[in-house]
Symmetry: C2
Subunit: 116 residues, 2 copies
């Protein structure tokens, strides 16, 4: 069975609600990471909920990245899935995740890697 | 720790390459499922690769749905993640998954549920 890449799934606790109520800051972090790691953004959807919270999905040529926030629970759920079609991206998956955790000053509640 | 919903992750083998080379048919199935289960599509990205294969992500008010195909490996990777904010959607997640498997005449290579 062919397994194209690494999918990292995580739940983060983030006490700074500015990072969870609106997607602006996380979008900046994600965009920086996409540029830094020379990934290709094929399209994205960022949706803002009222009064706070967002859902974000970024379609990459290497697979996808998603984020869903629940500020009322200080919760951010993250998916980073990159295929290894043109290069091995396992380290990039972990690097992006670590950057998000660091930049959002978040605590990891749950972290899981699936090779798929 | 608050766990908003159920995330179903799967790898499918699909021998009918018409379903994996272009997203048209899967998009029809997904759209039907979204309508049938009264989910809300907030935006989507479908990207076609050359010569064949696609990546698709649908942003839902209930979280997201993604699909990545590798026709050269008869492989389709599926994610269905629905939160239980307004109603319990665990059964809907499984129902959508079963419909995709059935409609694509696929074999399940890997299936995993994560409550998150």
């Amino acid at each position: 069975m062919y397994k194209p890449g690494l999918h990292l799934i995580a739940s983060l606790q983030c006490s700074n609600l500015n990072y969870l109520e609106k997607a602006d800051y996380l979008k900046t972090v994600i965009d920086q990471q996409i540029t830094f790691h020379q990934l290709q953004n094929l399209g994205e959807v960022y949706h803002q909920f009222d009064p706070g919270g967002f859902t974000a999905i970024v379609c990459l040529s290497e697979s996808h990245l998603s984020a869903h926030s629940w500020p009322e629970h200080q919760l951010l759920n993250i998916d980073i899935y990159l295929s290894n079609f043109q290069r091995v991206n396992d380290g990039v998956v972990r690097s992006i995740f670590n950057s998000i955790v660091e930049k959002l000053e978040a605590t990891i509640l749950h972290q899981q890697e699936i090779v798929r």
